[in-house]
C-alpha cells in the first residue's frame, strides 16, 4: 500500500535552525571582482555559455548577411571569391559548432539542475572548463577571418579540396585543430550532463517522471559521446595527412576521399538531431505551460526521442547519394531516412494534441508564437527532407540551393525558432524582469516572415540549377529577382534579431535570487523559487508536473521542509540519487570557485591554436599550463571520508562520500571510456574501409613483422592487466609501497608495448608516408601509444597521491579511474594487435 505524503510528514520540521539559510547562502556565494572569473555555479556558467553562443549566432549571422549582400544582384563583385569561400565556410562552421551545439548544452547547464531538483551539476568545474575552452578557442578561431586565414573548404571540409595539394595554407589546419578541440569541450559537457541527469534527480523522479527536456538531453549526451569521436578521428587523420604526409585520403597512394565523408557524416547527420532534439525537448516543456495541460503522449514522446537518437545514426549515407556507392546500400540509408520521420511525426502530433487540449492558450504569448512558427517551418523542412531522401530526386537537387533551403528550414526551423521561444519562456527564471511581449511579437513576425522570404525562393533557385557555394551568377540565368528576394528576407531576419537584442537590453536583468519567477504558471521544478544555491530544500517528486499536482510545494521548499535544507559542514553539496528509481544515495560535496578550470582552458586552447601556426615552443608552454592547472584542480578533487554522515531529513542519514562503482566519478569514467572506445572504433573502421577500397596496398604475410613481435607486445599488455588487477587488491589492503610498484609497472608495460610494435613495423621498412595501409597501421599503433602515454600520466598522478598520503582504501577515486583506463588500454591494445597483425595474415 502506498502512502500519500501529507503536510505533517515532510522530512524536515519547522522552524528551521537559526543561521541555516545564511550558511547555505555563504556556501554558494558567487565570487566578486576579478575573482568573478573563477565562478563555477551552473546558473552563472550557463548564462555566460548562452550569451557566448548568442554572440556566435550574431557573428555567423553577419557573415550570412554579407553573403546575401553579395548574391543580391547578378555578376556582383562586392566580395571576391576568396573571401566568399571563407564566409560560407565560417558561417556553417560557426553556426554548427560554436552556436548550435553549445547553445543547447548551455541551456541545459543553466536549467537542468533546477529542473531535476539538484543544487548544481555533479562536476561544476568541468562545466567551467568546457565553457572557457569553448569561449576562448571559439573567439580566437573566429578572429581568423579578419586576417584572411579562416578556413575556406566548406563546413564539411571535404578532401582532396582540403588536402595540402589544394589548400596549402594554414586555413584548413585552423579548422581541423580549432574545431577538433572544441568538440572535446562538447564531450566534456555531455559527460557532465549525463551524470547529472542520471544521478542528481530529486527523490521520486523515476524514469517516467523525468521532464522531457532531461530525457532529450540524456539522449543528446549519448549521441555526442558516440558521434563526436568520429569527427575527431576524421580531423586527426586529415591533420596527420597535412602535417606528416600520411595519405589517408590521397587516391594515388591507396587512400580514399570517401573515408572522410563516411567519418564526417557518421558524425554530421546525428549532429542535426543533436541540435534538433534538445530544441524539441524545450518545446515539449513549453507547450504544457502555455496550454495549462500536461503533455499528451509523454510516453510516446520519450519513445520518439530515444528512437530518433538511434535512427539518426543510420542516415549518414544520405549525404553521399551522389558518390557512386552501390544503389542497394544507398537504399538502406534512404529507408532509414524515411523511418526516422515516424518518431519525429509522433512528437509533432503529441504537441498538436496538447495544444488541442489546451485549457488556456489565448492570447498567444511570444514563446507560443515562436513554437507555432517552428511547426510551420520545421514541417516544411521535414517534407523537403523526405524529398531529398528519395535518391533520384537527390541526384537532381544535390549541391544546389534546394539543399540550402532544406537545411535552413530544418535547422533554423527546428532549432532557432524553439531556442528563441526558450529565450522568451525561461528569461523569468534568470532575470528580474520578463521580456516584452510587444517587442517579442515584432521579433517573431520579422524573423518568421524574413525567414520564409529568404529561404522559400531558394527551393526554386535550386531547382532552376543554381549551385550552392558560388559567389556569383550570370544575369542570363534569370536568377536575379529570386536572389534579391532572399536577400531582403535575410535583412528582415536580422531586423528581428535586432529587435530581440533591444528587448534584451531593455528588460533583461540577470539575477537568480530575485527572478521574475513562475509567470507562466508552469508545473516543473525549475519554476520553484530558488537562489544561487538552487532550491532551498529538495522535494520528493510524485508527478511530472509537481507544481501543479503537489499543492503548497513552493512554500514547503522555500521554508526548508524537504530534504537537505542546509549546507552540511558549510560546504556546497547536492543530493545524489540512484539512476533508476531516484532513491537518495549519498550527499556529494561540490567544489567551489577556482582559477584552475579557467587556466586549464587557456592552456588547452592556446596549445591547439598555436600548434596550427607551428609555434611549437609557445604551444608547449600552453600545454604545460594546461597540465599543471589540471593537476592542481584534480589534486583536491578526490574527497574521502572527511565528514561524518549527515542527516538530510525524514530520518535519512546519508554518507558525505562514495567510492567504487556506485560513485558519480565512476559513472563519468565509464562514459569517458565509451568515448575512447568510439574513437578507437572509428579508427578501426578507417583501417578496414581503406582495406575494402584498396586491398592491393595490404602486404603479404611475409612482409609483416615476424609473429614473435606482436606476441611479445601482447604478453606485455596482458602482464600490465595482471599488475593492474593486483594493484586493486593491494589498494583494498592499503599496501601502498607494493601498490606504487604495480601501478608504475603496469603503466610502463602499457607504454612499452605499442613502442615495441611501432619499432617492429619500422624495422620492416614500413614508412607512414608510403601508402594508405602504412598510414593506417601507424595511426592505429600511434593511438595505442597515445593511450599508453595517458596511462603513464595517470599512474604518475596516482603514485604522487600515494606518496603524499592522499590515497587510501576509502579515498581511491584516483586509483579507480587510473585502473579503469589501464584495463581499457589493455583491451584496446589486444584488439589493435589483432587488427594489425592477424587481420592481414587472415586476408592476405
Amino acid at each position: 500500500m502506498t502512502r500519500q505524503p501529507t503536510q505533517t510528514e515532510l522530512p524536515n520540521a519547522l522552524p528551521r535552525p537559526e543561521g541555516e539559510l545564511e550558511q547555505l547562502e555563504r556556501a554558494w556565494k558567487r565570487p566578486t571582482g576579478w575573482r568573478a572569473l573563477t565562478v563555477v555555479n551552473n546558473t552563472s556558467i550557463g548564462l555566460l555559455y548562452i550569451a557566448t553562443a548568442l554572440l556566435f549566432f550574431i557573428l555567423a549571422g553577419v557573415l550570412g548577411l554579407m553573403m546575401r549582400t553579395q548574391l543580391a544582384a547578378p555578376d556582383s563583385n562586392l566580395i571576391g571569391h576568396e573571401l566568399y569561400n571563407q564566409l560560407f565556410t565560417m558561417h556553417g562552421t560557426v553556426m554548427m559548432f560554436l552556436f548550435a551545439v553549445p547553445a543547447v548544452e548551455a541551456v541545459a547547464v543553466l536549467l537542468l539542475p533546477n529542473m531535476l531538483g539538484a543544487r548544481d551539476l555533479p562536476f561544476p568545474r568541468l562545466s567551467a572548463y568546457a565553457y572557457w575552452a569553448y569561449a576562448i578557442g571559439g573567439l580566437v578561431f573566429f578572429c581568423s577571418i579578419f586576417v584572411g586565414l579562416a578556413p575556406d573548404g566548406g563546413w564539411f571540409m571535404y578532401p582532396p579540396l582540403t588536402s595540402t595539394q589544394y589548400s596549402p595554407a594554414v586555413n584548413a589546419d585552423l579548422w581541423l585543430l580549432g574545431i577538433g578541440f572544441i568538440e572535446i569541450s562538447a564531450i566534456a559537457g555531455a559527460i557532465e550532463l549525463a551524470v547529472g541527469i542520471l544521478r542528481t534527480r530529486a527523490p521520486g523522479m523515476t524514469l517516467d517522471k523525468i521532464p522531457v527536456f532531461a530525457w532529450v538531453m540524456l539522449v543528446f549526451c549519448g549521441m555526442v559521446i558516440i558521434a563526436f569521436p568520429a569527427v575527431i578521428v576524421a580531423t586527426a587523420l586529415l591533420e596527420l595527412e597535412r602535417a606528416f604526409d600520411m595519405p589517408f585520403f590521397i587516391a594515388q597512394r591507396g587512400g580514399d576521399p570517401l573515408l572522410w565523408q563516411h567519418l564526417f557524416w557518421f558524425f554530421g547527420h546525428p549532429e542535426v538531431y543533436i541540435i534538433f532534439l534538445p530544441a524539441a525537448g524545450m518545446v515539449s516543456m513549453m507547450i504544457p505551460a502555455m496550454t495549462g495541460t500536461p503533455l499528451v503522449g509523454y510516453r510516446l514522446v520519450v519513445l520518439a526521442v530515444v528512437s530518433t537518437g538511434f535512427l539518426s545514426f543510420g542516415l549518414w549515407v544520405h549525404h553521399m547519394f551522389a558518390t557512386g556507392i552501390p544503389q542497394l546500400s544507398l537504399s538502406f540509408a534512404s529507408a532509414a531516412s524515411m523511418a526516422v520521420s515516424v518518431p519525429t511525426a509522433i512528437q509533432i502530433f503529441a504537441w498538436i494534441a496538447t495544444i488541442a487540449a489546451a485549457v488556456r492558450l489565448r492570447p498567444l504569448k511570444t514563446p507560443m508564437l515562436f513554437i507555432l512558427g517552428f511547426f510551420f517551418v520545421f514541417v516544411i523542412g521535414g517534407l523537403t527532407g523526405v524529398m531529398v531522401a528519395v535518391i533520384p530526386f537527390d541526384l537532381q537537387a544535390h549541391d544546389t540551393y534546394f539543399v540550402v533551403a532544406h537545411l535552413h528550414y530544418v535547422l533554423f526551423g527546428g532549432m532557432v525558432f524553439p531556442l528563441f521561444a526558450a529565450f522568451y519562456y525561461w528569461t523569468p527564471f534568470i532575470s528580474a524582469r520578463r521580456l516584452s511581449e510587444r517587442l517579442g511579437r515584432w521579433a517573431f513576425w520579422l524573423m518568421f516572415v524574413g525567414f520564409n522570404v529568404a529561404f522559400f525562393p531558394m527551393h526554386f533557385t535550386g531547382l532552376a540549377g543554381m549551385p550552392r557555394r558560388v559567389y556569383t551568377y550570370a544575369e542570363s540565368q534569370g536568377l536575379g529577382p529570386l536572389n534579391m528576394l532572399s536577400t531582403v528576407g535575410a535583412y528582415l531576419i536580422a531586423a528581428g534579431v535586432l529587435v530581440f537584442l533591444i528587448d534584451l537590453a531593455r528588460n533583461f536583468r540577470p539575477t537568480i535570487d530575485n527572478n521574475a519567477g513562475n509567470v507562466w504558471d508552469a508545473g516543473t521544478l525549475e519554476w520553484l523559487p530558488s537562489g544561487s544555491y538552487g532550491l532551498r530544500s529538495v522535494p520528493t517528486v510524485t508527478s511530472r508536473e509537481p507544481l501543479w499536482d503537489q499543492p503548497g510545494l513552493a512554500r514547503q521548499v522555500v521554508d526548508g521542509q524537504h530534504y537537505l535544507p542546509n549546507s552540511p559542514a558549510g560546504l556546497r553539496t547536492t543530493l545524489v540519487t540512484s539512476a533508476l528509481d531516484a532513491r537518495p544515495d549519498y550527499v556529494l560535496p561540490l567544489p567551489g570557485p577556482a582559477w584552475s578550470p579557467l587556466l586549464a582552458a587557456v592552456g588547452t586552447a592556446g596549445f591547439f591554436l598555436l600548434l596550427t601556426f607551428k609555434l611549437m615552443l609557445l604551444a608547449g608552454a600552453f600545454g604545460v599550463l594546461a597540465v599543471v592547472s589540471l593537476w592542481h584542480w584534480l589534486w583536491d578533487a578526490d574527497t574521502g571520508p572527511d565528514y561524518p554522515p549527515v542527516e538530510i531529513g525524514g530520518g535519512l542519514r546519508l554518507p558525505m562520500m562514495c567510492s567504487g562503482s556506485a560513485s558519480h566519478a565512476s559513472w563519468a569514467m565509464v562514459l569517458l571510456l565509451i568515448v575512447c572506445a568510439s574513437i578507437f572504433g572509428s579508427l578501426m573502421f578507417s583501417y578496414l574501409f581503406l582495406w575494402t577500397t584498396n586491398p592491393q596496398a595490404w602486404p603479404a604475410a611475409n612482409a609483416l613483422p615476424a609473429p614473435g613481435w606482436p606476441m611479445l607486445s601482447a604478453v606485455m599488455v596482458l602482464a600490465a592487466a595482471a599488475l593492474a588487477a593486483a594493484a586493486g587488491r593491494l589498494m583494498t589492503q592499503d599496501r601502498q609501497a607494493a601498490l606504487r610498484w604495480c601501478v608504475t609497472g603496469a603503466a610502463l608495460l602499457l607504454a612499452a608495448a605499442p613502442a615495441l610494435d611501432l619499432t617492429a613495423q619500422w624495422q620492416t621498412g614500413l614508412r607512414p608516408q608510403a601508402t594508405a595501409y602504412t598510414a593506417a597501421t601507424y595511426a592505429v599503433a600511434g593511438l595505442q601509444a597515445l593511450f599508453g602515454g595517458i596511462s603513464v600520466v595517470m599512474a604518475i598522478f596516482t603514485v604522487a597521491r600515494s606518496l603524499a598520503g592522499r590515497l587510501r582504501p576509502t579515498r581511491r577515486a584516483a586509483f579507480d579511474t587510473t585502473r579503469a583506463m589501464m584495463f581499457y588500454t589493455v583491451a584496446q591494445g589486444l584488439i589493435a594487435l589483432a587488427l594489425l597483425h592477424a587481420f592481414p595474415r587472415l586476408t592476405g
Binding site: T206, L207, D208, R299, L300, V302, L303, V306, S307, G309, F310, L311, F313, G314, V317, I325, P326, Q327, L328, S329, S331, F332, S334, A335, A336, M338, A339, V342, P343, S578, A579, L580, D585, S661, A662, S666, W667, T692, T693
Partner: protein, 113 residues
C-alpha cells in the same frame, strides 16, 4: 546498483540497439559483397549477400521480440514500473518497422549497380 542499471538500460534500448547493429551489418555485408564480388552469385534470383541480409533481418526481428518478451517478464518479476516494459516493447516495435523497411529494397534493387 550499477550492474542492475546497465542490465536495465540494455533491455530498455534493446530494440534500437539491435536496429543499429543490424543496420551496420547489412551495410557492411553489401559493401563487402560489392567490393569483393565473392558473395554476389545468385541463389533463387537474389545474390547470396542479399540472402545474408534477409537472414540478418530475421535474426534482428527475433531478437527484438525476445527482448520485449523477456523485459515484460523481468518487470513483472521485479515489480518494476510498467513504463520499463512499455518503453522496451514500443522501442522494439518501432525498430522492427525500421528493420523491415530497410530490408525491402533487397527485393527491389540490384545489389551492386
Amino acid at each position: 546498483m550499477k550492474t542492475r542499471f546497465s542490465v536495465e538500460l540494455l533491455y530498455l534500448i534493446a530494440g534500437p540497439l539491435i536496429w543499429l547493429v543490424h543496420f551496420l551489418f547489412i551495410y557492411i555485408v553489401n559493401a563487402l559483397a560489392c567490393a569483393r564480388s565473392a558473395l554476389t552469385g545468385l541463389w533463387l534470383g537474389l545474390p547470396v549477400s542479399s540472402w545474408i541480409i534477409v537472414a540478418g533481418s530475421a535474426a534482428a526481428l527475433a531478437g527484438m521480440a525476445l527482448a520485449a518478451w523477456r523485459q515484460r517478464a523481468r518487470v513483472h518479476a521485479q515489480n518494476a514500473p510498467p513504463f520499463h516494459a512499455w518503453l522496451c516493447a514500443a522501442l522494439c516495435w518501432l525498430s522492427a518497422v525500421a528493420v523491415v523497411w530497410e530490408t525491402l529494397p533487397v527485393f527491389l534493387m540490384a545489389a551492386c549497380l
